[in-house]
Symmetry: C2
Subunit: 407 residues, 2 copies
């Protein structure tokens, strides 16, 4: 298929379902065809040739508006590509449009629906990205995670999500919420594809062609807050752990993680304080254009003093170090991605409780869809490693995908 045929097929596929799924905030057919023509004429080939890609509406794309899920910015067009988008273009990927984000990547949802059930949330903040992959609109989509904004929507939409190590991908041209938290990653429908995608954005060749692992040593960790997860989510985690063991993995219950609660608390403080500082302009100049929920969160954040914030940063560094030592005898942690199936809601994007610690620790995290829950919605597991062990995380996720499949 030529790039122009690919563009045509993609736009037709989107046109057929977009009025119900509402994954995009901006698609311009002429721009897509022009870009397809450019790729075809220049003969640009690369690791993303043949891929069609949605860009979360927090990333600048030259000539498209960056609205950040907010009414504040109107039709204002970006004058440049963000670094991640530039690397996608250079690798031959065809950019289709801007996918819906919640308001400034916080909790107030956009119009996107879960492709598996239109009454359910697709999760957030990378709502349109996860949904556009689940709906087969695109092969890949960018996301960002401050608390659980990649892994949770991946879980709710039943696609693979990959948040690499903190600072793997340049945030130049990204609207940032949490200075020490926000991590760029991506979505796709299988581990190899999402690894290739993140590998391009991060220029990590070991992700573009990931190695295979033979016998992964997995630590099964329900975390001290397992009681906050639905029975179905816990049962799925158990089932995957058992299947992995049967397939040859060494699966051990994780003993440790005494810093879990301290890390969760630190995350809350850091995110509120950093959010209030990053969105200081919007909070001061356009309070009436912010949702009540975001306005309340930023007010709370603005009241957290600098000492408290720095203390939380310190606790985060200390407790992360302890956890990483405890994790170091395993290839990866196998844990919960979300509290359960996507909730039946269009006013909430669900609970990121099981994602915050991993964002704060800064290591790679995969969501792997593995099955369905009691109401037929997707369920899965999260695979987490220490910072910079992205290649190993990808290898473990590949192994699990092959060993367990989706059922």
């Amino acid at each position: 298929m030529s790039v122009i045929e690919l563009a045509k097929a993609t736009l037709e596929r989107i046109a057929a379902d977009e009025d119900r799924i509402r994954a995009f905030v901006h698609i311009d057919h002429d721009t897509v065809y022009a870009e397809a023509k450019r790729l075809q004429n220049t003969g640009t080939k690369g690791p993303l040739s043949g891929d069609v890609i949605a860009i979360k509406d927090l990333f600048d794309v030259a000539g498209m508006p960056t609205r950040c899920g907010s009414a504040i910015y109107g039709e204002h067009q970006a004058q440049r590509d963000s670094a991640a988008v530039a690397s996608i273009r250079a690798a031959g990927g065809l950019i289709v449009g801007k996918s819906v984000t919640t308001e400034f990547a916080y909790m107030t949802p956009g119009p996107t629906r879960n492709p598996h059930n239109f009454d359910r949330t697709p999760g957030g903040s990378s709502s349109g990205s996860a949904a556009s992959v689940a709906a087969h609109f695109v092969t890949m989509a960018t996301g960002t995670q401050t608390a659980g904004s990649i892994i949770r929507p991946a879980a709710f939409c039943g696609v693979v999500g990959f948040k690499p190590s903190f600072a793997s991908i340049s945030r130049s041209g990204l609207s940032v919420f949490g200075e020490t938290l926000d991590t760029i990653g991506g979505f796709s429908r299988d581990v190899a594809t999402v690894s290739r995608f993140v590998g391009v954005m991060a220029d990590r060749p070991g992700l573009i062609t990931p190695e295979r692992i033979r016998v992964p040593k997995l630590a099964l960790w329900r975390t001290p807050d397992a009681d906050q997860a639905d029975d179905a989510a816990l049962a799925e985690l158990e089932r995957v752990a058992n299947a992995a063991a049967r397939a040859g993995a060494v699966v051990t219950e994780f003993v440790g993680g005494s810093g879990w609660s301290a890390l969760l608390q630190a995350h809350t403080t850091i995110m509120a304080h950093e959010g209030a500082r990053s969105l200081g302009y919007e909070f001061t100049a356009h309070p009436n254009l912010l949702s009540t929920s975001l306005h309340d969160f930023l007010s709370k954040g603005a009241k957290i003093d600098g000492e408290t914030y720095l203390k939380a940063r310190q606790i985060s560094i200390q407790e992360s170090a302890k956890l990483l030592v405890e994790m170091s005898s395993f290839d990866a942690i196998l844990t919960l991605s979300a509290v359960g199936e996507a909730p039946c809601s269009t006013i909430s994007t669900g609970n990121p409780h099981f994602n915050k610690v991993w964002t704060l620790v800064g290591g790679p995290a995969f969501h792997l869809p593995t099955g369905t829950g009691p109401t037929g919605m997707p369920l899965g597991v999260q695979v987490c490693c220490a910072p910079q062990e992205d290649e190993r995380a990808a290898a473990v996720a590949l192994w699990l995908e092959a060993a367990i499949g989706y059922c």
Copy 2:
């Protein structure tokens, strides 16, 4: 003096000298008066009340163009304040305009001259910021440092420069060159003022009202590359160390730092690779609007593969950890800020050799002007601490300033 009188006095002062110093790329008198009126009418008071501030042209300021020292962006106006600018406004600071940066914070200079000698460079990349403080145009100016872009211009212009710990100040709304390097900081004419300024942007109360230190334990480190410094710079460092000892400091020769060269090399690799990724759009879409020097650097960076980059990141983490252990028995390192006086050049901004390691290590660094060199240009010293020891660095710099003065 009312805020409006302050605005008037500032604009008059700038008008008198700006045609020779060329510190600004954008000043609009109406905007400055409008902002002064707003501050006066709302009665906004805060730790920056009475301060007039220049913003390096890499930071978005709502309603002003962000040109990044490049012809690429033209008159395109920023739609929002960057996080640092929002915090300055909220603290009652009066923003005067955008100060000249070198092209995208790399080496190609803008038109700014050194206020002490118009034939000399003010240093870079924060050229206009350092010059506007030295010329008494403003009391404070923002800067960013990727290699030596705050400390070097502070040294050349004879003002105090303060680069706080990495990630102290939100980069939201900043044009980023090096994702893991770029650090926001500031300039002023004394330590207490620059600490207050950085303290506001970082929300670090311990910097806004810094504590005093009684008997600092200083490590005098000429580094293994002392032979790259001019005799005058080394003599000044020696003189300051002796004066500090006479004033009661414990000054010890630093033994250690075997990772110096490895850190320098890692910095070069990381900066080139990250720069090529951050400026991927400009490199691809506007190669003819980039200077030869930046284009060459980005070409070089684009050829550094992902493995090499990750290896350099690893070395940086390992060698930084070793250096920090060696530093831990001292309150601060006393070292060179620059190779010597500002060079007699308008085509180069000088050599950041003695700044790169401290940017990579990520701790706070102060430049303290302490005297003049053989041609009458400013000289001084650099004070460096481990990451997050910003309050201690400020206390040591305050002590040195009081004990030694400027002579």
